[in-house]
Symmetry: C2
Subunit: 382 residues, 2 copies
Amino acid sequence: MHAIVKEKQDNVGYEFPFEGEKHLATAVILPYREDTWREKAKPALDEYFEVVKAISQYEKVLLIADPAIDYHILTRFQLKNVTFFRHKTDDSWARDTLPVFLRNKDGYLLGVDYGFNSWGGDYNGLYFPYDNDNNLGKELLLDLSISRFADKDFILEGGSIHTDGEGTLLTTECCLLSKGRNPKLNRKQIEEHLKKTLNQDKVIFLPFGIYEDETSGHIDNICCFLEPGAVLLAYCDDQEDPQYLMSRKDYEVLSQETDSKGRKLKIIKMPLPKPLYLTEEESQGIVEDKNAIERKAGRRLAASYVNCYIGETYVLLPQFGVEEDKIAFDILAEFYRGKKTIIPIRSREILLGGGNIHCITKQIPFSDLYEIESTEDSECKK
Amino acid sequence: MHAIVKEKQDNVGYEFPFEGEKHLATAVILPYREDTWREKAKPALDEYFEVVKAISQYEKVLLIADPAIDYHILTRFQLKNVTFFRHKTDDSWARDTLPVFLRNKDGYLLGVDYGFNSWGGDYNGLYFPYDNDNNLGKELLLDLSISRFADKDFILEGGSIHTDGEGTLLTTECCLLSKGRNPKLNRKQIEEHLKKTLNQDKVIFLPFGIYEDETSGHIDNICCFLEPGAVLLAYCDDQEDPQYLMSRKDYEVLSQETDSKGRKLKIIKMPLPKPLYLTEEESQGIVEDKNAIERKAGRRLAASYVNCYIGETYVLLPQFGVEEDKIAFDILAEFYRGKKTIIPIRSREILLGGGNIHCITKQIPFSDLYEIESTEDSECKK
């Protein structure tokens, strides 16, 4: 009712927890833009719904919807554990547009709110304008009464970093050193900036992401931590595929690196699905305009099982309707051996929009200082 | 919109700042009960208005009003810097019913929310029921997204303690050891409880408060810190007055004590106004019922200039329309010598309800992490 703005000038004492630890909640933003999501986003909303429903079995989901999204679309999402927020949004990538959440020993949370320029701004951004998405972090922090540590001059999407929760940050050179991000900073300066703003001890740069990934190659599509000391790397055995050398180079870097604790990393190879392409039918359902990049039939899709979302006791795993789906499932099931339930979810429609399950989710680390209020129906109706 | 409940299990690292330091805001609760405030609280509201207006020149005022208070009464209070809150209240003593606000080095605030039993519960409480007032702290903390440290099993009103902000707590035996508060705890246990919950190093117990004070003798009517190392003590030179010996005993204790830093205290004597009594006319304006103590004509009023409210650059000083008013003003002006502006405010009507300016105000220490939102008119109308 009388929310209070909190701006923090420093991040001293705040840690960046591993995604696979307990969450307070997961934020998801609903899609609606017709120049990106075919058929008025209806098929995509079906997959977003499956993601939200699955997460809501385990924890609260904060569901952000643009005022343009009709109330009747939201009614379907009125599940136990789902709280609605109405904010102007440009698109639906919670991973990239929402703050990176840190937590201190006292249990207070802090949202590191970096600048967002639609994955490259004037250089190679994907939609314009992106003001609403750039402001969304501030709005959500206000809603949640979580302190904000603003760093808007530095461009960073949440999907371009992964942490093990013990001070090791994973990222990619292709994205972080791209001209579309922070061209005035060199690699060393970017590394120092990441360490400082996220309180990390070590940054590991992989050279490449996934081939044709429109994010300039986010880490979250190519490699993630399964637990401290162990990473999952998207791998390709087909030497004819451009991805082959990219993944091999990444493997070489990882196999020579140590983490913040001096440990060698255990590398679990995750096969990629066979190459997937945007179909004619899918492309025709998208309303082309000048505000977003074109999505033509035949375009290769940056599909990857590494773009999974890891909770304390569950993993949401992308599925593409191909035979590699089962292999991916088995690899994670084998790794977690009952410690986390692997939940396969079809996500081709999310992929058509340019990302996957990890890209549309953002974890807020658990703290018993906070409790999310339930939604009143009136919030949906706004 | 989606406030978050914050409950903290400990108060480690939180300090209790001196009232005379910079405030984030001051909370005030409006009066309305007709069995306490004569003529439907109209004359009292005039004085509350003057207090709110004066504070709002310097800082935000959080104005809490029971839903029973008509919107048209609130419109008068729609000043710049005033934010409204609608909550069920039993009466209007922000000092006693609202939490004690602590602050940590990071700038986070914490509300210590003690139990409230209307100054004595079944033993010698003043009005019944008092559930709304006992719940008010929790409600306000929710509104402000300030963490709550609940200690509801311990009965304590904010007016029964004063701190110098450096670890010295002032209180009175007559109140803190009263059977109406925490009869199962002995003096040592109460002292330890205060130290622990408010992070204080030393507790100084004065034996007495103000004669006939219906709060069992709150410290804030008899003695307060003017700054660390200096206290203001309500004093009486009339040996026929029961207050004479009470104040003298308190003086003796203070003059032998040292504060948490080992300093002797500088004691500034503040004369009391001549004895004041409830008039027949005043008494007749009160609607007598069984829910609150009787207020009969001839009753001696516990008037004291020590019940002033100290901000960073101002002091609100009670005035009773007697010649001692000017002396009181001069004593504070002389002490603060331009560092704080002394603002005299007539407060006989507040006194008739059983307290004074300090009793109706509660400071929230300043922190640049927090910013109070402005009131929307709709809040008044609720």
